[in-house]
């Protein structure tokens, strides 16, 4: 994909910001449950999502249109799932599963590898839905 349209870039930036907010709320809600490392990792993920221009956009411009649409769908699903977890989750095992998958997503975004990010988005989305 040579160049994202302004609307696509907007959609991506909004999705990333919404997920960032969800990750921050998740970290705040389950702060006492999380280890120090997990708190820091979630904070790093939130920061990466906040830097979407530097990270996600750079990744997204290397994706095909179909993969970009799929990534946007996953981003929205993950944000929805994380927000749902913040509102309803009480089970420690599930909190840790969501945490682990989000941290994996953060690592994938940090590498900047489009295939890795797409795969991490897919598995994070699946893990949160499970």
């Amino acid at each position: 994909m040579p160049q994202m349209t302004p609307d696509q870039a907007d959609e991506l930036a909004n999705a990333a910001l919404n997920l960032k907010k969800a990750v921050g709320a998740f970290r705040n809600t389950f702060f006492a449950t999380l280890t120090e490392d997990q708190r820091e990792d979630l904070q790093s993920l939130a920061a990466e999502l906040g830097d979407e221009t530097d990270h996600l956009t750079a990744v997204a411009i290397k994706l095909s249109l179909a993969d970009l649409q799929q990534s946007l769908t996953h981003l929205r699903d993950i944000a929805k799932g994380v927000n749902g977890a913040v509102a309803h989750l009480g089970e420690l095992r599930k909190v840790l599963t969501v945490t682990a998958s989000l941290i994996s997503l953060g690592s994938a975004i940090a590498t900047g590898d489009p295939a890795g990010v797409l795969s991490a988005l897919s598995s994070t989305s699946a893990a949160i839905r499970a």
């Binding site: 910001l17 907010k21 921050g24 705040n28 702060f31 920061a47």
Partner: protein, 288 residues
């Protein structure tokens, strides 16, 4: 054989001549007022442009550990490089737009066009970037070329009509891009900053434990920070709205160029001019 003019005919001819004279005086007034207000509006937004990069820096600082005492400026500046690099391009583009409206004002006032010569090298070196796409850079180059040509060729008021028509696409493209950067991207940056800041306050509040005095102070600081962000958001939206008014007014001018009816122009440009003046006042109350 020529017929001697009747008294009625003389009155009618005189009235028509007077109306024509009034019309030709009133028309440039309406145009001058609009372009002068547009020029003033575009010249007042440089603090906002600078705050795009500053918002990124504040956000990155807010994402540092609450307990950290360190000079993080290097890391933070590196993280915000894209926004920092964008600032000169936006400031230069605003300057081109301001000079363009100033040139229109000169033409409408029967004066020679002058402009800031730095614009020539700025436009020549301007390149498209992620934050400032190719159509916008082309528009800046187009307006800069108009300035160069109008000064070099000694354009007169007669050129006003062709100038308005020729530049309308560039003005539309540039105001759209600048408006989007302000009203969509910068507003999202502020939202992003607010989220990071909120989490920082939550972390600080959590570490304060049950210290009510400290909690009270944190709440006050958070409220003040939030109010500042709201003002900046309002300023950005005013800027976007001002650019839309400039674009709309310019388009009306371009459409009616050559068909100078003072009454129509006043009616069509008046609301744009009045709205612009209000929006500039709204912008000026923002805390930068």
């Amino acid at each position: 054989m020529l017929k001697a003019p009747t008294a009625t005919g003389l009155v009618a001819a005189t009235s028509a001549a007077l109306l024509l004279a009034l019309s030709s005086c009133a028309t440039p007034d309406a145009v001058r007022q609009f372009v002068s207000t547009a020029c003033e509006a575009t010249s007042q937004f440089s603090p906002f442009v600078q705050d795009i990069a500053d918002s990124c820096i504040r956000r990155k600082l807010a994402e540092r550990p609450v307990t950290e005492i360190a000079d993080s400026s290097g890391a933070v500046t590196a993280a915000c490089k894209e926004d920092i690099d964008l600032a000169p391009e936006l400031l230069g583009s605003l300057k081109v737009l301001t000079n363009y409206f100033n040139a229109l004002h000169s033409l409408a006032s029967d004066q020679a066009v002058t402009y800031d010569k730095e614009i020539d090298s700025f436009a020549a070196n301007l390149q498209a970037a992620v934050g400032f796409p190719a159509p916008a850079t082309d528009a800046v180059k187009g307006l800069a070329k108009f300035l160069l040509d109008s000064a070099a060729s000694g354009y007169q008021r007669a050129h006003l009509t062709s100038a308005l028509k020729a530049a309308d696409v560039d003005v539309t493209t540039l105001t759209n891009t600048l408006g989007r950067i302000a009203g969509v991207e910068y507003v999202r940056d502020l939202d992003n900053e607010q989220d990071s800041l909120k989490n920082r306050y939550i972390d600080a509040m959590r570490s304060a434990g049950h210290n009510d005095a400290l909690a009270f102070l944190l709440q006050r600081h958070w409220a003040a920070d939030l109010a500042t962000l709201q003002k900046r958001r309002g300023a950005a939206l005013s800027f976007q709205a001002a650019l839309a008014k400039i674009q709309g007014g310019h388009h009306q001018l371009a459409l009616h160029a050559g068909r100078w009816s003072a009454a129509e122009l006043s009616k069509e440009l008046g609301p744009f001019t009045a709205s612009l003046q209000t929006l500039v006042k709204n912008f000026q109350v923002a805390a930068f």
